[in-house]
């Protein structure tokens, strides 16, 4: 457009678009040139982007891009780099025995750090974030161990599980004395009170503890021991201490005798790497309750 054809606004000295609406005119102030150029450059840039990166969806796939970049391979590269970085300590962890790990402060720190993450990923859903346990899932912080609290015991339980069908796993469960008609209701009630009396808990008034003692000796002592101290071979808990796997109230004890107990822990042997199982063992052992 030639200069003289432009409508110039007197006040601003800027050209108008030439349109008029009820006496209103619009100033012609186009986008700044630098802005437009940046805009064009981004368009050109995006074309380059299509070519080098995966971009256009196809029917079954997408364009792959000449750089061969893929977020998944990038992630795997990052993970490999991390493995590389941890390599020397991981090798040490893999080759050291449990006792050696616990004796070496830096290896212990490393194992506990590894163990913490593995525990949160695999164990925390049942045992709680800090191994605090829940009803039916043992607290791993205390000093009572159903299957033993030495490093080797803990490792075996983790590796082969409990009642999970593994030959080397922990086996032995509490029968359903009531449901299977082994004991009568009054016997169950009496033995439940007797069990409470083992750890000096109150018993129901007028209960026949003598009957309870007899029932215990005939049915329970085989696994839980004649004095109620339990048996780790069978995973039979100690009934004389202050720790209760389920609960110490009579109703819960009666329920256990009625229907039996048999909490299952999966075998982690094939699912976690060897160093991870070692790390988990050490981590659980150092919650505070580990036995020497």
């Amino acid at each position: 457009m030639a200069e003289e054809h432009k409508n110039i606004d007197a006040v601003t000295g800027t050209a108008t678009t030439g349109h008029e609406w009820d006496g209103l005119r619009e100033l012609n102030t186009p986008l700044p040139r630098w802005w437009l150029w940046l805009f064009y450059i981004t368009i050109v840039w995006s074309v380059g982007y299509w070519i080098v990166y995966p971009a256009w969806p196809l029917l079954t796939n997408s364009t792959q891009g000449v750089f061969g970049y893929h977020t998944r391979t990038a992630l795997l590269e990052d993970l490999d780099a991390l493995k590389q970085q941890r390599g020397p300590m991981m090798d040490k962890l893999a080759s050291a025995s449990l006792a050696e790990i616990v004796a070496d402060p830096s290896l212990l720190d490393f194992a506990r750090a590894q163990g913490r993450v593995a525990f949160a990923d695999n164990c925390a859903p049942c045992h709680g974030a800090g191994g605090g346990g829940a009803k039916g899932y043992p607290n791993l912080n205390d000093d009572e161990w159903l299957w033993g609290g030495k490093l080797s015991d803990v490792e075996q339980t983790i590796r082969y599980g409990a009642r999970a069908g593994d030959n080397k796993g922990r086996a032995g469960s509490m029968p359903a004395f009531g449901r299977d008609n082994i004991l009568k209701p009054n016997e169950i009630s009496a033995v439940a009170d007797f069990v409470r009396s083992l750890s000096n808990l109150s018993t129901e008034p007028g209960v026949d503890l003598g009957l309870g003692k007899k029932v215990y000796a005939d049915n329970c002592a085989l696994c839980h021991g004649p004095d109620g101290k339990g048996n780790r071979e069978m995973g039979a808990p100690n009934l004389t201490d202050k720790i209760w796997f389920y609960s110490s109230d009579k109703a819960t004890i009666v329920q256990g005798i009625e229907n039996g107990r048999g909490a299952v822990m999966p075998a982690w042997g094939g699912r976690l790497s060897e160093p991870t199982i070692k790390a988990l063992t050490v981590y659980v052992h150092t919650f505070g309750g580990g036995e020497k």
Partner: protein, 507 residues
């Protein structure tokens, strides 16, 4: 402020419809101007003329000292022994440390930065209360670098007159060559500005070597690039626009100042009515009043922001004092007294007009208050710095389980403690737990020594995390929560640190 002060950015150019006049008209309630005035003021290119004098010398000195510090400080060495870097000032991001000569700060001591920022703000306020925008005129990086870029520009393209003539004439190859050379020099300064910046974040001699051989990390090159661009555009191209439109300080400054603050002031009581030397002689012979100002515009020509100081206190004025030097040179040549423009106040001009003595009131409520705050904040910082601990302990109670019942009925709580050793050597600590009648404390994984104590050794300038289990064997069960004290003791020096936490039970 006095009515003399116009807040216009644009100085009324001779012959042009003056914005100030229009504003004045509007303020006086006269007829409003026929049409709206444009709200957009296009930029005028400023060609500041070189000048000699006291304030110019001060500015050169400040420029040399501040830039010298900035460019060379990373190379200053400071021996801290084998376990710490030997660079006097180093912001060590990978290791999360800040080194400043004999001071080493950890991330948790970042509040010293808060203190420094408070000090910086109040010092700025104090400067403002004493002598206006002394920061803007002499110390601000924008001013210092722009000054340096002006110097380069004058060196390559010549002083004001020469430069302006060359710009308006048809550009020759020589003009292009000069312009090109100027930009190359500017970019070199800008590049070195960015280069010096990254040296504060890594061992300077090593990084220089790595940068030269292309071995330095990408982030170093990226930051050099960023700061090259900002320096080149801010000091080379945007210049006074930064002060006029981008910087918040002029606005804040205007709200903080008072009538006693010294400002670069045109003493209009002495200067007006301004007229040329020849006309002045005529008028004088007729017995008419004549001012000292000969309207030579030297004060305007040397101004880096293009301000006419004779318009009064002005938003665009960064108060660098170069107009004082320019005016003094002219006054000396004319044999008239210098300091027609000087650091002064409008109040004093009024005093002189009324035949009274000018007065300078340095000690005022606000200067005293600012100085007081500086002393208090500085004192607190110095005190805390001098008495800070070189060791520390922090404790986190286990979240799950909150407490553990043991088979014999005892209660146990688990904690994770972190021990801090800020000294540059290995230190042995023991930790005691007080507050429970009968406790056993076990530091997991630390073998007991002959005396039964478990020693925690922490490496130089490091922290160590230890799991602690505390078992309470008291006959009566403790309340739901008992306050306990973890006490850290350095077994060699006896220095201690403490941290309170809680021992939980079922209650």
């Amino acid at each position: 402020m006095t009515a003399h002060a116009t807040m216009s950015l644009e100085q009324p150019a001779p012959g042009a419809p003056a914005l100030a006049n229009l504003v004045k008209e509007a303020e006086l309630g006269g007829e409003p101007p026929e049409d709206d005035i444009p709200l957009y003021a296009p930029r005028r290119k400023i060609y500041p003329q070189s000048v000699q004098g006291t304030f110019r010398n001060i500015k050169w000195a400040v420029l040399v000292v501040t830039l010298g510090i900035y460019y060379l400080l990373p190379f200053v060495r400071w021996d801290r022994g084998p376990n710490a870097p030997s660079q006097a000032i180093l912001i060590d991001f990978p290791n999360r440390r800040f080194y400043f000569f004999f001071i080493e700060l950890w991330p948790q001591e970042i509040y010293y930065l808060t203190g420094l920022l408070i000090l910086a703000a109040i010092v700025l306020f104090l400067m403002n209360a004493v002598a206006g925008r002394i920061w803007c005129g002499y110390l601000c990086p924008q001013t210092v670098w722009t000054d340096l870029f002006f110097a380069i520009e004058r060196f390559v393209e010549g002083d004001r007159r020469e430069h302006m003539q060359r710009d308006v004439r048809k550009w020759t190859a020589g003009t292009y060559a000069r312009k090109g050379l100027k930009h190359v020099l500017w970019l070199m300064v800008a590049w070195w500005t960015g280069g010096a910046w990254v040296l504060y974040f890594s061992d300077a001699p090593t990084l220089v070597k790595d940068l030269a051989t292309g071995q330095a990390p990408l982030i170093a090159y990226a930051w050099i690039g960023i700061l090259t661009v900002t320096t080149y555009s801010l000091a080379g191209h945007m210049r006074e626009q930064v002060c006029l439109y981008m910087c918040p300080w002029p606005r804040i400054q205007a709200a903080l100042t008072d009538e006693y603050a010294l400002n670069v002031t045109y003493r209009y009581d002495r200067g007006e009515p301004r007229c040329s030397v020849k006309k002045g002689e005529q008028l004088r012979s007729q017995g008419q009043p004549v001012g000292d100002c000969i309207d030579c515009l030297q004060c305007v020509h040397v101004c880096p922001t293009g301000v006419d100081i004779r318009g009064g206190a002005n938003l665009g004025c960064i108060q660098c004092g170069l107009c004082i030097d320019a005016c003094d040179a002219i006054m000396s040549k004319l044999g008239r007294p210098t300091r027609l423009i000087a650091y002064d106040t409008d109040l004093n001009i009024k005093q002189r007009t009324e035949g009274k003595q000018p007065f300078y009131k340095l000690v005022r409520m606000r200067t005293a208050l600012y100085a007081g705050i500086i002393v208090v904040v500085g004192g607190i910082m110095l005190y805390t710095l001098a008495t800070r601990d070189s060791e520390g302990i922090s404790v986190i109670h286990d979240r799950n389980p909150m407490y553990v019942r043991l088979s014999d009925g005892a209660l146990r709580n688990g904690y994770t403690i972190r021990i801090v050793n800020k000294r540059l050597k290995y230190r042995d600590f023991i930790v005691s737990v007080d507050g429970l009648p009968s406790t056993l404390v076990d530091f997991v994984g630390l073998p007991p020594r002959a005396d039964g104590r478990q020693l925690i050794t922490v490496g130089p300038d490091q922290t160590k995390e230890v799991r602690v289990v505390v078992t309470d064997y008291s006959a009566t069960p403790p309340p739901p929560s008992t306050s306990i004290l973890f006490k850290l003791i350095d077994i060699d020096s006896g220095e201690t640190a403490e941290m309170r936490d809680h021992f939980f039970g079922p209650g």
